[in-house]
Amino acid sequence: MSDDSSLHTPNTAAGDAAAAAATPPVLELKGIGKQFGAIRALHGVDLTISPGEVVGLMGDNGAGKSTLVRIIAGNFPPSQGSIHFGGREVHFHRPMDSRNVGIEVVYQDLALANNLTAAANVFLGRELRRNFGPLRLLDHKGMEARALELFRELRSETRPHDLVKDMSGGQRQAVAIARTRLSNARLVMMDEPTAAISVRQVEQVLSLIHRLKEQGIAVILISHRMPDIFAVCDRVVVMRRGEKRADKPIAETSPEEVTALITGAKEAA
């Protein structure tokens, strides 16, 4: 696996945004819009994210958060606007397209198979294999060792050969996040990772996000939980009625202002 930075091809068009963030952005959305028939789900959304930056994406139900995430994940293309990733314009037609360039999604239901071990889940769809004579068989030891390495890196107490069905919410999150580390992702999007787990496990998940940040990975965190956003994010983006209403460094805003922006009590900031 190659080093992340070597993959960058600096682009002059991205220069303005890059100057502001000091490093070239990993993801740049320009004027993204999306219509479903007569319904305008997104309109004119610009968003720039730098490596190692954690951006909180907030908004009420129907504000356009999921539509935006799905466009970035390649579930469907935008009706207007362009996506630049790592300095190059990209067009995603299937989720695999976005995965191939280095975008990983941790789904709300985590997409884990309960009947398989942690290691098997981490490597699902990307199994390591070894040659045994003419056969290509699963490399169980290799996968368990690598999974253990990833769990250590995430500082999660998770055994690679334990079944996922016996695991806590925090451990399951670690398995889902370890999966994204496997591919050397440069952007990880997490959909409500703390919605259904205990207080202690929330801390574990937030520290997992810190680990990703330390590795220079950009994170988009979708959450309804204000304390989580203020604990880990560098910036908060507020969506309302399909438009971006605010995009502020976390230090320059407050939970009260964000709440006002979400509900519409305050139009924009």
């Binding site: 098997a120 030891k141 107490e157 998770t158 334990d162 016996d166």
Partner: protein, 365 residues
């Protein structure tokens, strides 16, 4: 990756401050329905050996081994389908159909004057005896014909389920009827018989034994070992389990779900076809009503052995143990001179009991 590996790959064992490791009897095969059904089987065998002086005789054990081998190969195949969360009701009909095709092709190719037969046989000097051009070739071609037909049936099942999105139950229920009907059509309701110079090889390979071990039992063990290898040591096997555990997760992680599903129905159909061909060798014919309702025995054996109809769980050991248990009970009732009509009732009780005990175990542990 910039993070160096601190652990040697050989020892992934770790101790954690707050997460206990599951004890060995709570893990893997020991915590499965297969494990205690195996225990129940062992207990039953002990009881039987005391209850009847004939049970452990060589003849009876050969009989038991042969009889359960007659459904066990198909059970191995359907276990693949069941692990993905599917079901295949067409296996009984397909056993019969594949056996018919094989014996009809064998007879036809061995009859001078029939299409293509000149490639395979000629008449001896006496003008009556049919002699094979290459001994064994007709057998190979006719068995392959039966298997190709099975493969096509499995392919149709798989495409209907995986690509057209039909329910496995409905698709294979329809196929049960289609294939049985076709069997009656092509044989005009009479069934068929293996014939010609290669029929003796066919009987030797299906009725014969090696040092007293019945041939079907040997095939079963070889196929079970192959199945264990495929399920636990190949990506295909891993994906079969993943689809049964969480189909959506498998899809999101890039597993080609439709392809794997089609493949399991093909594997199930091939196993059923092979099973039918072996049974017809033992019977000496493939009657049109052969293996009627065998799909129920096969599914019952798989479920008793621990395959979960909800998907995600199952394996070759369970499939075989389920078949052995059914056969030992049948054999035991015969030896004990119990009215054989009780057999079916008892099988039903065991199916429910096995699943019930598993549910209770899951609650207690």
């Amino acid at each position: 990756m910039s993070v160096p590996s601190e652990t040697s790959p050989a020892s992934p064992e770790v101790t954690f401050t707050n997460v206990g490791a599951a004890r060995w009897w709570h893990r893997g095969v020991f915590a499965s329905q297969t494990a205690y059904v195996t225990l129940a089987l062992a207990a039953l065998i002990v009881v039987m050996s005391f209850a009847s002086p004939y049970f452990l005789t060589e003849g009876n054990l050969q009989n038991v081994a042969k009889n359960f081998s007659f459904i066990a190969i198909a059970t191995l195949g359907i276990t693949f389908v069941i692990i993905t969360g599917g079901i295949d009701l067409s296996v009984g009909s397909l056993m019969c159909f594949a056996a018919m095709i094989t014996s009809m092709v064998m007879t036809s190719l061995s009859t001078p004057g029939m299409p293509l037969s000149s490639l395979f046989v000629h008449l001896a000097a006496d003008g009556k005896t049919v002699v094979a051009n290459v001994p064994g070739l007709i057998l190979i071609v006719s068995v392959l014909a039966g298997l190709v037909v099975s493969l096509i049936v499995g392919l149709i099942n798989g495409v209907c389920v995986a690509l057209l999105g039909l329910s496995p139950f409905v698709t294979t229920l329809g196929m049960l009827s289609i294939v049985r009907g076709l069997g009656y059509v092509i044989s005009n309701g009479k069934g068929s018989f293996p014939g010609g110079p290669d029929a003796d090889y066919f009987y030797a390979l299906t009725q014969g034994d090696v040092y007293g071990v019945p041939a079907p039992f040997i095939y079963l063990i070889l196929l079970a070992l192959l199945m264990a290898l495929v399920l636990h040591h190949t990506t295909f096997g891993r994906h079969v389990f993943a689809i049964g555990g969480n189909e959506k997760a498998a899809e999101l992680t890039g597993v080609s779900v439709p392809r794997v599903k089609i493949e399991v129905y093909v594997v199930g159909a091939l196993a059923a076809g092979l099973q039918g061909i072996i049974i017809s060798g033992w019977l000496g014919s493939a009657p049109a009503n052969m293996a009627t309702s065998y799909e129920l025995n096969v599914i019952a054996a798989a479920v008793i052995g621990g395959a979960n109809l909800a998907g995600g769980i199952g394996g070759p050991l369970g499939a075989i143990v389920g078949c052995v248990l059914l056969e030992v009970i049948r054999n035991g009732l015969v030896l004990a001179q119990v009215n054989s009509y009780w057999q079916q009732t008892l099988v039903g009780v065991i199916i429910i009991a096995a699943v019930l005990v598993d549910r209770i175990r899951a609650r207690l542990l």
